[in-house]
């Protein structure tokens, strides 16, 4: 405890941040130089600032909004919604995808810069669920755009979506540091 009090508050903060990313860096003893690989630092920064594009399709969007809001607070994981596809790198497809909406989703997805990821939220976005055989419904959003993480549920709870985001973070880390 006394050792910590000897540090200035800023130094305590930085040392905590360094502890968090300890897996990614090597510290020179006594020095102020940090060695790491760009892959690792890119993976760390990509996975901890996932910016989803702001849009919801159906009732799953209500649950998604609850996850963004203060009680569950996705912002803890660096997930902040952006209003433009040009600034975002995750798309959370929350709800039933209709044939008319599928073209819009495809366009929004192609407007997003690489690297980009997709979370299919809820059974409608995964497979169409009981609207599967309806003339105007797409049976699963993975027929329109490639999906990385599937979050099952009708609708999934906010905890479920948070776990989906954590899974995506893990996946990004694996893919980027490969």
């Amino acid at each position: 405890m006394e050792e910590i009090l000897k540090f200035k508050p800023e130094e305590v903060y930085y040392s905590r941040v360094l502890d968090k990313i300890m897996n990614y860096i090597e510290r020179f003893p006594g020095g102020s130089v940090i060695l790491t690989s760009t892959k690792k630092i890119f993976a760390w920064s990509r996975k901890s600032s996932l910016w989803p594009i702001t849009f919801g399709l159906a009732c799953c969007a209500i649950e998604m909004m609850a996850t963004y809001a203060s009680r569950f607070d996705l912002e803890r994981f660096g997930v902040i919604t952006r209003a433009s596809p040009r600034q975002s790198d995750v798309m959370i497809v929350s709800g039933t995808v209709t044939a008319k909406m599928a073209e819009r989703i495809k366009r929004l997805y192609s407007q997003m810069p690489e690297p980009k990821w997709v979370i299919a939220m809820g059974s409608c976005a995964i497979s169409g669920d009981f609207y599967r055989n309806v003339y105007s419904v797409v049976p699963g959003v993975d027929r329109v755009i490639p999906v990385d993480v599937y979050v099952p549920g009708c609708p999934p709870t906010p905890e479920g979506l948070i776990e989906g985001v954590k899974k995506l973070q893990k996946l990004i880390e694996e893919v980027t540091t490969k």
Partner: protein
Amino acid sequence: MKKEILKKEFKLDETKDGILIFPLKEFYHFMERVKGFFPYLSFITACHFLERKEFEIIYCVRDPFDSETLIFKTVLKEDEEVPSAYKFYKGAEWMEREIYDLFGVKFKNHPDLRRILLPEDWEGHPLRKDYEINRAPEKYDYRRKPVLRRRF
């Protein structure tokens, strides 16, 4: 009651549920009278009868000052056109577009008769009884398209 007045004036039939049936010939005259009594249009909907080859167009109007509701309908053959109620109720525009979109009933003198829910180049009218349950135009038939996979 306003319903009784209308019923006597036009000598209309009434179903068991108290819904007036008015002939299509007297559409403009009847609608003008109804508009005078009931200034608010609640909804317009339609129903398809495959064996009779007929459509029923159902109107629900309301007087918000007296809290009174009137439901009336008209019957028309599949190839007939029904006059648009847009002249009397401005809110009828989108409801009639929806009926045109899903049933294929055409409205005479409608200002902008296009599809409203389905894509513009959709084929067929899905709420007709003879429409197959999951038939879609080839462009919009995502059931036949393959599932896309990520390479990593």
